[in-house]
């Protein structure tokens, strides 16, 4: 026996030294943290191609930062924006920062000119198809005499009817500079609004906005650029938005919470241990067991997941309050009798129940390990490994390190004794039955009011100022780029383009009704070969040639015969615009990013959507479109949270049944029921409480209830196992429930909604399960006997 304890001590000490060495090695190489909240969720993409495009588009959007620099005076605003852009550029955080809109309609028209006979705008195609030549003629004549005709990118002798001009205006030039409310000044996009001139500056981050290094650099670059701006132009203002700012805020918040919750939990634990045991040794040993637990949890997550998520660390602070249980239990044993106490004796006495309790808690976390959510699994793994390590410390190291410090009757034990003797224990009299009935009614009434909410907002609730800036920016620019977009795939480029054209036809009524603000895809600048050929036939029949509309118009207006002749003999074998040619044109500009040459099994095009007002109509409009996938990450996340919520509620029932069966084997069918009653009651009361306070039900409440079960079974088992020494057991459970409650309760202060949900549920659940365990548990009669 003696040798076994010593052997365990040596082995455990060796293993922990190895852990420390490995951890030190990892830290020296630089620990990498993850802060993308969506990384906590599983990937709903059906296939690799869709995933690749989705990730690429998401990464592109995530790396964009938009800033509007505003001042009452136009010139001040323009020079302020130039300076601001220059400062951002100089920071090195950005791949590039644009204040100049570089699209030149004239240059674009030059590039498109060789292909013009195959290019028509929707409107002109319709007119030519219907043979509406007279209106087309009149339109051209009016246009040529108007003031605004000087804005045409092509001269009359090259595009007399304005067909190519119209094609270009209708699509190819679309970009930030062509927005409805912006105008160009000194090459910059300017919005005039309420006496302010706002100038658009856009940047693309060099690194991922979810890397903490980029976040720090971005924050400081923005701050110093804003400070410099305030010096140069005191009346200037900025409105900045972008995924990077959200990510930076969320990461900062997580770090703040991690250190706040961690230190408060630790403080509570330290205070409690000192107050109870009035000795430094238990404190030091407890802290060592907790520290090693945290280190082991971190290392495990790093090894298994590659990167540790910041939210895992926030959740991980609860390890302090939970893992300290084992140490509390262990040291509380010295109050059991007045005879001299030793660590070995404690091991013999409370070792088994510590182990059972540990297994129950681990079982609770292990059920979370089964959840198909990477974030939850990471938190569970962190906790399981952390708890196991802390438990191993207590069971293997403490027996040889703990000393009797002579304290026998701390105030806490007196409290526990009083609690144990109090008439609070359940008995079948009218008062207790009435209380039970009230609780049942409370739970039932609250549960009836529960409303499920499965929303991406559970993952991230941005602060009001960021949201306000984003709204203001989008209002000024009259845009709201939607997170939804469409992917069009096909066997070859031609098929993709044709499918995208078919898709545009499906979307046309939605665009006309304003249900979708805009749909931007490559076919705006690059029609399919089939369409170009059809449009060429239309133009050859009606526009060019001896008696074509263009020829007639030119002679009517008195053009030189040479000009007219040149247009009447348009080359029928002119080249067709194809993907490689189009991509090599400067004019394809931002649309080029929407084309993917090969995503496995063929190319793909992306259609970005602006201001989607009727998502349902969009969904039904694109349903059944061949080769088209609607990517809707927000809806995917919601569906995922809903599905998992349903699964989790079934899972909870299953876990209860399993634990009941396991308990029944040891304690018998009836006592197993009594042991399970506190956690089950606490779970129902917590749900009722959530219902009464109007907090919506989500997946994370349910996952938290699994943990309540894990902890709660502990308390009931400890009380049951330790009947004979009840006050000390009651003390140990009370202390551990208190520290656990503090740790989880702190989570309910988190800014991350789902962490808050878990915190709230756990805080309520742990408090309730403790009260119920004491109320419904065995009465401490044996101690007096």
């Amino acid at each position: 026996m003696r040798d076994a304890t010593r052997l365990r001590f040596v082995l455990c000490a060796l293993a922990l030294s190895g852990l420390l060495l490995y951890f030190g090695f990892q830290v020296s190489r630089g620990f990498e943290f993850q802060s993308d909240l969506l990384a906590l969720l599983p990937d709903a993409a059906q296939d690799d191609g869709v995933r690749r495009i989705r990730d690429e588009v998401a990464a592109r959007v995530a790396r964009r930062l938009s800033v509007l620099v505003g001042a009452p005076d136009a010139d001040v605003a323009l020079s302020a924006a130039r300076g601001f852009a220059q400062d951002l550029r100089a920071s090195g955080v950005f791949e590039h920062v644009d204040d100049q809109i570089r699209t030149s309609p004239v240059a674009a028209a030059r590039e498109y000119l060789p292909y013009r006979t195959g290019l028509l705008s929707e409107q002109h195609r319709r007119m030519l198809e219907r043979g509406e030549l007279a209106p087309l003629h009149d339109q051209a004549v009016h246009s040529l005499h108007s003031l605004q005709s000087m804005l045409r990118p092509l001269p009359i002798d090259e595009d007399p009817l304005g067909l190519l001009s119209d094609f270009l205006l209708a699509g190819a030039g679309a970009g930030a500079g062509a927005r409805r409310t912006t105008e160009l000044r000194q090459g910059m996009a300017v919005v005039v609004d309420g006496g302010m001139h706002w100038v658009l500056v856009q940047g693309r981050l060099r690194g991922s906005p979810f890397s903490m290094e980029t976040q720090r650099a971005l924050t400081s670059a923005l701050e110093s650029a804003t400070d410099a701006l305030a010096q140069r132009a005191p009346r200037a203002r900025t409105v900045a938005w972008g995924v990077g700012l959200h990510a930076a805020w969320a990461a900062r918040q997580a770090q703040r919470e991690m250190s706040l919750f961690g230190s408060l939990s630790t403080l509570a634990v330290v205070g409690l241990i000192l107050a109870t045991f009035r000795s430094i040794r238990p404190l030091l040993l407890s802290v060592v067991s907790l520290g090693l637990g945290v280190i082991a949890g971190l290392t495990a997550c790093q090894v298994v997941f590659g990167r540790v998520h910041l939210i895992t660390l926030v959740f991980g602070t609860t390890l302090v309050g939970v893992a300290v249980d084992y140490a509390l239990h262990f040291f509380s044993d010295q109050f059991r009798s007045s005879s001299p106490w030793s660590g070995r004796e404690a091991l013999r006495h409370v070792g088994p129940s510590i182990l059972i309790g540990h297994l129950a808690a681990v079982a609770g976390y292990a059920t979370l390990l089964l959840a198909p959510l990477p974030g939850v699994r990471q938190m569970a793994l962190f906790s399981v490994v952390g708890l196991a390590t802390a438990c191993a410390c207590v069971l293997c190291l403490f027996p040889l390190l703990a000393r009797d410090n002579g304290v026998r009757e701390p105030w806490a034990l007196r409290w526990a004794r009083r609690l144990g003797r109090s008439p609070l224990h359940f008995r079948r009299d009218r008062r207790h039955l009435l209380a039970a009935a009230i609780l049942i009614a409370f739970a039932a009434g609250g549960i009836a009011q529960l409303r499920p909410v499965d929303d991406v907002r559970l993952m991230h609730a941005p602060p009001a100022d960021l949201v306000a800036a984003e709204r203001e920016g989008q209002r000024l620019l009259d845009t709201s780029l939607d997170s939804r977009f469409l992917i069009v795939r096909g066997a070859d480029a031609e098929q993709v383009l044709q499918r995208e054209e078919a898709l545009r036809d499906r979307l046309a009524p939605l665009l006309a009704a304003g249900d979708v603000g805009d749909a931007i895809g490559v076919t705006r600048g690059l029609p399919s070969r089939a369409r170009q050929q059809a449009d060429r036939q239309l133009q050859q029949r009606h526009v060019y040639g001896e008696n074509g509309l263009a020829t007639r118009l030119l002679s009517e207006l008195g053009a030189d015969p040479a000009t007219t002749r040149r247009l009447s003999t348009v080359d029928a074998d002119a080249p067709v615009l194809d993907v490689p040619r189009w991509k090599s044109m400067a004019a394809s500009g931002p649309l080029r990013e929407l084309w993917f040459d090969d995503v496995g099994g063929g190319p793909a095009g992306v259609v970005m959507l602006d201001a989607v007002r009727d998502a349902e109509r969009l969904r039904s409009a694109v349903a059944g479109a061949e080769g088209v996938v609607l990517v809707d990450r927000v809806a995917d996340v919601s569906a995922l949270l809903r599905d998992h919520r349903v699964t989790a509620s079934l899972g909870i029932v299953a876990v209860y049944v399993l634990i009941y069966l396991a308990l029944a084997l040891r304690y018998g069918a009836r006592d197993a029921l009594v042991i399970l009653l506190p956690p089950a009651g606490a779970a129902l009361l917590t749900l009722g409480l959530l219902g009464w306070i109007g907090s919506p039900l989500n997946l994370f409440n349910l996952l938290a209830l699994l943990l309540v079960l894990g902890m709660g079974v502990d308390y009931a088992i400890f009380l049951r196992e330790g009947r004979r020494t009840q006050p000390t057991v009651l003390l140990a459970i009370g202390l551990s429930a208190f520290t656990t409650w503090i740790s989880f309760g702190l989570l309910s202060l988190s800014a991350t909604p789902f962490v808050r949900s878990m915190g709230l549920t756990l805080a309520a659940g742990i408090a309730l399960v403790f009260v119920l365990a004491v109320w419904l548990g065995p009465q401490g009669v044996e101690e007096d006997a």
Partner: protein
């Protein structure tokens, strides 16, 4: 034939004049001094009316495309440009861009239309500060009246109007725009009348959305 020769001569003269004009950059104060008379007239007015003649000299055409009509300029509001010959068509320019009454003008990019509208408004208003933010300015002495040369600072504007001149005596009488291809648009205002006092509802009616 003699007329033709005269025209040629006149063209050459303005061409040389223009080249010279664009050698003489001017700052805001100089321009405001040179234009003090028409600016003074304008500042007392709220509404300006005129008849206009527009000639577009386009490559590939032996003679210009001409049109004429009436112009109404309500200061601080916008311009109603009504073509009467060779056909009837009305366009309204204001701070938000341009609207064409009959929808026959064909589309132009909204951003470009706002720029054009803004430029026209500041030219008719002789708003030197606003012009300065968009153009480099040039002016030269004249025996009678004034002339102002404008060269866009904005490459987007330069695409369509490489340089412009506006000139006149007591009022703005002549606008000339020249694009990078050499196409030229000339606008001449006649029978310019100004009126003070608030604009009448009838004047403002075309600007209602």
């Amino acid at each position: 034939m003699r007329l033709f020769a005269l025209l040629l001569l006149a063209n050459a003269a303005t061409g040389a004049g223009a080249a010279e004009l664009f050698d003489r950059p001017a700052d805001r104060t100089t321009v405001e001094q040179a234009l003090s008379e028409p600016i003074g007239v304008l500042r007392r007015a709220t509404v300006v009316r005129a008849r206009f003649e527009q000639a577009r000299h386009l490559s590939g055409f032996g003679h210009p495309l001409t049109s004429s009509g009436e112009m109404l300029f309500v200061r601080g509001t916008g311009i109603v440009w009504r073509v009467l010959e060779p056909f009837d068509s009305t366009s309204v320019f204001d701070r938000n861009g341009m609207r064409s009454g009959d929808g026959q003008a064909g589309p132009a990019p909204a951003a470009a239309l706002r720029v054009l509208s803004g430029v026209l408004l500041s030219m008719l208003d002789l708003d030197v500060a606003a012009l300065e933010s968009r153009f480099e300015m040039f002016t030269s002495a004249r025996s009678a009246g004034w002339i102002l040369g404008l060269r866009p600072r904005d490459p987007g504007v330069a695409d369509f109007a490489e340089r412009m001149t506006i000139s006149g005596r007591a009022t703005l009488e002549h606008i000339e725009l020249r694009d990078a291809r050499g196409d030229r648009t000339e606008i001449t205002f006649r029978d310019v009348t100004t009126a003070g006092g608030p604009a009448t509802p009838r004047d403002l009616a075309p600007f209602e959305p």
